[in-house]
Subunit: 200 residues, 2 copies
């Protein structure tokens, strides 16, 4: 950049531009916004970024992100520890928690099988899930991977690993999204909704 | 948020959400992206944010953001120090520099007069501009405030302040944006383009 822009400014623009969905224009808009704002805004963000990794770890039971090990969900006596929902990412835990309809525990895989992207089953926390089931006390494993090609492949792999263990395996229902429109539903979703129809 | 989200994660989501144009969804997407990424991404951004204010200051001549005082533009012997372009924000300096068509220096006001928002002429670097002209050696002041209501009000105020000093005052031309379409031009722009028409 030209010498109208001092180095600390350029550096922050470049750091912002490395975030997904942030282009060079947005990065420079954010930077100049912070320059105009009180110091505590940029310093607060700076400290939160510094602490993000240093103060968090993965729960040794469910591999969700946590400050305490085991995490508050795994150490909660009110929750059904015999019921495990297997999800791809920590954000999926959040989505399920928001429903207030689930009282079991979780297992975060940290990704999905993706041969093109070079992600194999060993790169995910699948072995750890199998070990958890082997320890006993698990009644049901709900596979809540994404309804995508990678999520389905991951679900199939986990099914093959867990079927010999004799644990009950279920997965989230496929169907029409609530508030959706049959007219605009894609045919695969509609087919799944038809196959999974229930009595009225 | 629920206990599925540890505090350092919540804190970063909240810090991101204080940025303009970043809602809670984007903030949490950015946070979980950084959690999945190598540490140097979040730490690099953290350091750049920490240094943004501590390593920069305003140039004591033109009030642009700089690491050295006076800034590289004000201390550049190759530039015409008798020609001052008055802009609202540091980003406007950048925009003018990008044209490569300007070889004078700048004066950054850090805002525009905005009675509704409580910004008066004394909140801007207008007194400093008048003092700069008073020091002598200035031939022309190009008022390059935004073509908005606030920018025009600021331009008028500066004109009233500088006219008695006998310095040449100009402002950026109004007209059709290059690549624009007459059909879609607003009528004020079109009127200005008509008034400012030049011989072919």
């Amino acid at each position: 950049m030209s010498k109208a822009v001092p180095e600390p400014v350029t550096k922050l623009i470049e750091a912002f531009a490395r975030l997904p969905g942030v282009g060079p224009k947005t990065a420079s808009r954010l930077t100049y916004f912070l320059l105009r704002s009180p110091d505590d805004l940029s310093l607060g963000l700076s400290e939160a970024l510094r602490d993000l990794k240093s103060l968090t770890r993965l729960c040794s039971v469910c591999y969700n992100i946590t400050t305490d090990d085991p995490c508050p969900i795994c150490s909660d006596g009110q929750r059904d520890q015999r019921l495990i929902a297997v999800v791809e990412e920590p954000l999926d835990v959040l989505a399920l928690e928001r429903t207030s309809a689930y009282n079991g525990v979780y297992h975060v895989l940290h990704g999905a099988v993706n041969p093109v992207g070079g992600v194999g089953p060993d790169d995910l926390k699948i072995r750890e899930l199998v070990a958890r089931v082997d320890q006993g006390g698990v009644q049901e494993v709900i596979i809540a991977t994404n309804p995508s090609y990678e999520g389905e492949a991951t679900a199939m792999y986990i099914r093959n690993e867990l079927t010999p263990k004799g644990v009950k395996l279920t997965r989230l229902a496929r169907g029409l999204p609530v508030g959706g429109d049959i007219e605009y539903a894609d045919s695969v979703t509609l087919m799944r909704a038809l196959m999974g129809r229930s009595e009225l």
